[in-house]
């Protein structure tokens, strides 16, 4: 599931395809924490995250007979969960046109001057204070959805580039591009935030 703990749990494909409840309960027990964390990062609201969590596993249960085991169970669940999260976001804001990053802004974004402030020197307790954590989370929420997904899957959930590409059904190059843009974006947000914390900033 995670690059650090690469221990993908083994499940019986046959039992899952037959809708075996005990086997499915093992899947739920193993992955619900990961799916909940993903949903929280995407939606930034515990109630919404719980809805997405439940809907993900309900969908997964119904899709079990069709699950061929071509991708890992974790990848399969992440794919269902990201779709649920996106649908949820769209339902909440029906006016939002597209989840894709508007391409006409690419040039504008790329040519925007970057903020150069060395905030790395700030003490650790200021960098990870409760207020800073809140700011870190808020910055993720402000990312365009497609960048947010790539970032959450790669840098929060710790999936590899290839796994992320599989979950999002995009190329590995596209994953890398989105991840880089997300990180750039977040760096700008954090710079704006931490800048105010530097004493006598010039």
């Amino acid at each position: 599931m995670n690059q650090q703990d690469q221990t993908e749990v083994e499940f019986s494909l046959e039992a899952l395809q037959n809708g075996d409840q005990a086997e499915f309960a093992r899947v739920v027990a193993t992955y619900s924490g990961y799916i909940y964390r993903l949903a929280l990062k995407m939606l930034h609201n515990p109630q919404d995250a719980e809805d997405v969590l439940q809907d993900t596993f309900i969908k997964a249960f119904h899709a079990l007979p069709k699950f061929q085991g071509q991708s890992k169970v974790s990848t399969w669940l992440y794919r269902i969960a990201t779709n649920e999260a996106l649908m949820f976001l769209r339902k909440k804001r029906p006016d939002t046109v597209s989840v894709e990053v508007p391409h006409q802004n690419d040039d504008e974004e790329a040519s925007r001057p970057l903020q150069i402030v060395d905030w790395c020197c700030l003490p650790e307790d200021e960098l990870v204070s409760d207020e800073a954590r809140e700011q870190l989370d808020r910055s993720i929420t402000q990312l365009p959805e497609s960048l947010r997904l790539a970032f959450v899957l790669r840098d929060i959930e710790g999936l590899s580039t290839r796994e992320t590409a599989e979950v999002l059904e995009i190329s590995e190059t596209a994953v890398k591009t989105r991840l880089h843009r997300a990180r750039m974006n977040l760096r700008e947000s954090l710079t704006a935030y931490y800048q105010g914390k530097i004493p006598e900033s010039v």
Binding site: M1, Q21, A22, F24, A25, V28, A29, S32, G33, Y34, Y36, R37, P46, E50, L53, Q54, F57, I58, F61, A110, S111, P113, L114, Q115, I116, V117, D118, W119, C120, L127, V128, A132, R133, L136, D155, I156, K176, L179, H180, R183, M184, L186, R187, L190, T191, Q195, S201, V202
Partner: protein, 95 residues
Amino acid sequence: MTQHDYHNHHDCFHLLNSLSDYVDGELGEELCNEIERHVADCEDCRIFVDTYKKTIYLYHETTAEPEIPSDVRLRLFHRLNLKDFLENSVGEAQE
């Protein structure tokens, strides 16, 4: 505070585009050396690389364990008609 217009600095712009791969350790040795040489001479890029790395570090550092609150877990298992499979310790915590 300063701003850096990367479009007018070819080397800096080049560095920026390889940064993700650089940080993820996916860049060849030669390009890595190139970046490190550039950063040694360009203070803006040095700061940029440091804050970019620090941003990723902070997200790793503050990422919670993939745990689920016991009440959320309980409701999930109920919703899925799997309450018979809840471990005892989790089930007891609620009622």
